[in-house]
């Protein structure tokens, strides 16, 4: 019967010969090769070419006019007198606002739903499916749906709000053409759309928590809230970090909801940074400037993700 390396090590037999045969092994590299090819084509190449574009005044329609401008595209973003300054930082600020609105909602609501649907609720599978269902829709579908719900003339929200007199004399706000009402409309649409995904991840993690812990806690006389804060939350922490991280990234990628629902208005008040980059690159045909914006945004995103990770890691060690 063949012995494992560990067993051979323990008995001291023929380990040296095994080690010499393991000098270099191509097999693992062959396994990652298929992914590596796509990675190189769709990530590696665009990354490098984007970096090159960002140092040019670049327009792919008039290649004869492309000129090297060094770091000009980057300094423009930090020069208050440039054309790009206001537009870029306004849109980045908007994306930040959207993150502040949407990330807490997209973590807390799915968490509560997951805890609720992890109990022995009758028909819980149906509820899980219902809550997850919107996630399969495309952004244009959900945006159009919520556009009609929020629109001022006969929109569902306003009809009910008026009938119930919720907003008093002035009537409901213009959900799609004034701030901050527009952010509420966009956030509600986004939360409804994507909360099912976060819920499923959290639900899977919840199901991994051993039942014995709760049993032990019950014997010790812990109530439901104590069990949630002392058992559920600590054991969910690493999954929560992951959920928060991907939710931040998804929120950073806001694009379609504001384009469809508010047309980025009023007065670019809901224009996200991803739209700004798109507009710069494909409507203005300034791909160099757009690439520079992309790298600045990427750096900010990496920083935010890193900080998020660090903060939660620190708390993790306290247990």
């Amino acid at each position: 019967m063949a012995k494992t390396i560990q067993e051979r090590e323990q008995t001291g037999e023929a380990v040296a010969s095994v080690n010499t045969r393991r000098r270099f092994n191509f097999t693992p590299y062959l396994f990652i090769l298929p992914h590596l090819i796509f990675f190189a084509i769709f990530v590696g190449y665009p990354f490098v070419s984007g970096l090159v574009y960002s140092t040019f005044q670049y327009n792919f329609l008039t290649p004869e006019n492309n000129t090297f401008v060094g770091l000009n595209n980057y300094t423009n973003l930090f020069n208050t007198k440039s054309r790009e300054f206001d537009l870029f930082w306004n849109s980045l600020g908007n994306t930040g606002i959207f993150m502040l609105y949407s990330v807490p909602a997209l973590v807390i609501i799915p968490l509560l739903l997951a805890v609720l649907l992890n109990t022995k609720l009758p028909g819980r599978n149906i509820f899980r499916a219902i809550i997850f269902a919107p996630w399969v829709l495309s952004v244009s579908v959900i945006s159009l749906l919520w556009f009609w719900i929020f629109q001022s003339n006969g929109g569902l929200v306003n009809v009910y709000a008026k009938a119930l007199g919720i907003f008093g004399e002035d009537g409901p706000p213009r959900w799609l053409s004034t701030l901050p009402a527009a952010w509420i409309a966009i956030t509600v649409a986004t939360v409804w759309w994507t909360m099912g995904f976060n819920m499923i991840i959290l639900l899977a993690a919840l199901q991994d928590i051993p039942e014995q812990l709760y049993e032990a806690a019950t014997i010790d006389g812990a109530n439901t809230l104590q069990k949630f804060f002392r058992i559920t939350l600590p054991l969910l922490q690493s999954v929560l970090v992951f959920v928060i991280t991907i939710t931040i990234i998804a929120s950073f990628n806001l694009f379609g909801q504001s384009l469809f629902m508010t047309n980025n208005g009023p007065s670019r008040g809901t224009e996200p940074v991803m739209y700004r980059i798109y507009d710069e690159g494909f409507n203005r045909n300034a791909q160099g400037s757009a690439a520079a914006m992309s790298f600045v945004v990427a750096l900010i995103m990496i920083l935010v993700s890193y900080l998020n990770f660090r903060i939660f890691r620190k708390r993790d060690t306290s247990y």
Partner: protein, 530 residues
């Protein structure tokens, strides 16, 4: 014991997962942004269970491939609200106008087409363009953005042309959504078709970006001169002293009014002057009805431009280096809009709210594009909805309009003389027979057709035939759409109450626009390089 083991394995695994996610995050950001930012690159591409590692492969490819299309199609669909409404607005919109006529058209159009073949021959003032002798079986690709009900009207013209030239020329028409982006990508890969529709606001941008080429000799051969078109429409095709496009049709700002409400208010005719307009709007504003509805998005920038010109102003100075909408005329125009909104309309309405209110029967008058005709008049509404020209508010005539023109694309590998001749013949055929096209809800640019008795029988084209003699178009300089951005923002800010100082808002917008004009000038130079 259980807890210890559990924590070790779970937390270890999930923190490594988190690390992977973090890495994916950075890369996604980097590559996704380059290719135009996926809406939710990360979320949409990931599949529910397999979390982090598959996200790398799935999401990145999605970012690369779907990002561009997702984003741009999005842009196209909402163009009605956008400032650069051009292609899609006109297309989707003009199309809307077609439905009423749709039933009767196939018969009408074919007769019109064959009937006007004689007109075409007769109308040529100069030498007519014919196919060179060595050309046979020319295949012509014709692209446009007419994806709505207007497409079939253009299709009828193309079919009739193919019939008249059977065996010699075959035109294949392709109508596509997201039209400008299609042209841009085709230009990048040198696969542009042989003849295209160009909208009024992108003529110069297309010329400077190597999408269309000068067609002076062809237009000369076809025999068209400045006197055949409204001056502003004819000049729109000129970029840096060369002709790039030939005007086909216009879609002007139109006033829609609820004739039942108007009559109930004791007024018998649609207002045509400011005084009459105020009177009618005031009379109809009562009991939950609004005499005039105006939004804070599309088309308020266009209404502002129209009033600016009527009060004697202009958006830019003569050499298009300075924005001049902050003039006295601009302040007057903006003040007029704010007053009208305050007196007659609901505040801070979003895009299309004017149309919805009008269709619900609670709005007396609205101003929107001619393409809304079938949406808000006739059998589409339960009252007597009518369309006519917008009243002239200021002392000068002027009507905002969009325009579709015909142009010939650039082919880097060289142009085919046979195809150019065939494209010229098609151009002439479409322009001379634009009566058929007018039935789709367009006002022909060609004077001879526009002033014909046939147009007088089409409504509201007949009422608007006069309005398009003084259309308001953006200047033909590259990137001009971008220079309108700050104006659109300022008008919206004022209409929503976000800004209250009219002069200051217009001044700030002009200053921002001047930066864009200077940047565009530096980027594009004075004339197309090729």
């Amino acid at each position: 014991m259980i807890k210890g083991d559990y924590k070790k394995s779970r937390i270890g695994r999930f923190s490594s997962l988190t690390l992977v996610a973090l890495f994916v995050a950075g890369l996604l950001a980097a590559c996704g942004d380059n290719t135009a930012a996926p809406t939710t690159g990360a979320t949409t591409a990931t599949t529910a269970a397999a979390v982090a590692t598959t996200a790398a492969a799935g999401a990145t490819s999605a970012a690369a491939t779907t990002a561009a299309t997702g984003a741009t199609s999005a842009a196209a669909t909402t163009a009605a609200g956008a400032t650069s409404a051009a292609a899609t607005t006109a297309a989707g919109a003009t199309s809307a106008a077609a439905t009423t006529a749709a039933g009767a058209t196939s018969a009408a159009a074919t007769t019109a087409a064959s009937g006007t073949a004689t007109t075409a021959a007769a109308s040529g003032t100069g030498a007519t363009l014919t196919l060179p002798a060595n050309c046979s079986n020319v295949q012509l690709q014709y692209w446009n953005g007419f994806t709505g009900p207007d497409g079939p009207f253009m299709g009828q013209l193309v079919d009739a042309f193919n019939k008249a030239n059977s065996g010699k020329i075959t035109v294949k028409m392709t109508s596509q959504a997201d039209y400008d982006t299609q042209l841009t990508t085709a230009a990048a890969s040198d696969t542009l078709p042989d003849i295209i529709i160009v909208n009024e606001d992108v003529v110069a941008s297309f010329a400077f970006n190597n999408i269309i080429r000068p067609i002076d000799p062809i237009v000369q051969q076809l025999g068209y001169t400045a006197s055949d078109f409204p001056k502003i429409a004819w000049d729109n095709g000129m970029v840096a002293g060369k002709r790039y496009t030939l005007p086909l049709s216009m879609v002007p700002m139109t006033m829609y009014y609820n004739n039942d409400l108007l009559k109930a208010a004791g007024i018998s005719a649609a207002p045509a002057t400011d005084a009459d307009f105020q009177k009618a709007a005031a009379a109809m504003t009562k009991g939950g009805n609004h005499g005039f509805e105006i939004t804070s998005g599309f088309p308020v920038q266009q209404i502002f431009q129209q009033l600016l010109h009527q009060f004697g102003g202009s958006e830019f100075n003569a050499d298009v280096t300075q924005a001049t909408w902050n003039s006295d005329a601009g302040v007057k125009a903006m003040q007029w809009m704010l007053d009208a909104q305050k007196k007659y309309a609901e505040p801070a309405l979003e895009v299309d709210a004017d149309l919805n209110a009008f269709k619900a029967g609670s709005a007396g008058m609205i101003w929107n594009g001619i393409w809304q005709t079938t949406n808000v008049t006739g059998s589409a509404v339960s009252f007597d909805g009518k369309a006519t020209a917008t009243p002239q508010i200021g002392p000068q005539p002027g009507t905002w309009a969009g325009m579709a023109s015909l142009g010939l694309p650039v082919h880097k590998k060289g142009n085919d003389a046979c195809k150019d001749a065939a494209a010229g013949m098609l151009m002439k055929y479409i322009v001379d027979n634009s009566l058929t096209w007018a039935k789709a809800g367009n006002v022909p640019a060609y004077n001879k057709v526009r002033n014909s008795a046939d147009i007088a029988a089409l409504h509201p084209q007949a009422e608007l035939a006069k309005a398009v003699e003084n259309p308001i178009f953006p200047p033909s300089v590259p990137g001009i759409g971008d220079a309108f951005g700050p104006l659109s923002d300022a008008v919206t800010a004022l209409m929503t109450g976000k800004a209250t100082d009219v002069k200051k808002a217009l001044d700030d917008a002009a200053a921002k626009s001047n930066q864009t004009l200077a940047a565009n000038k530096a980027k594009y130079g004075d004339a197309p390089k090729s």
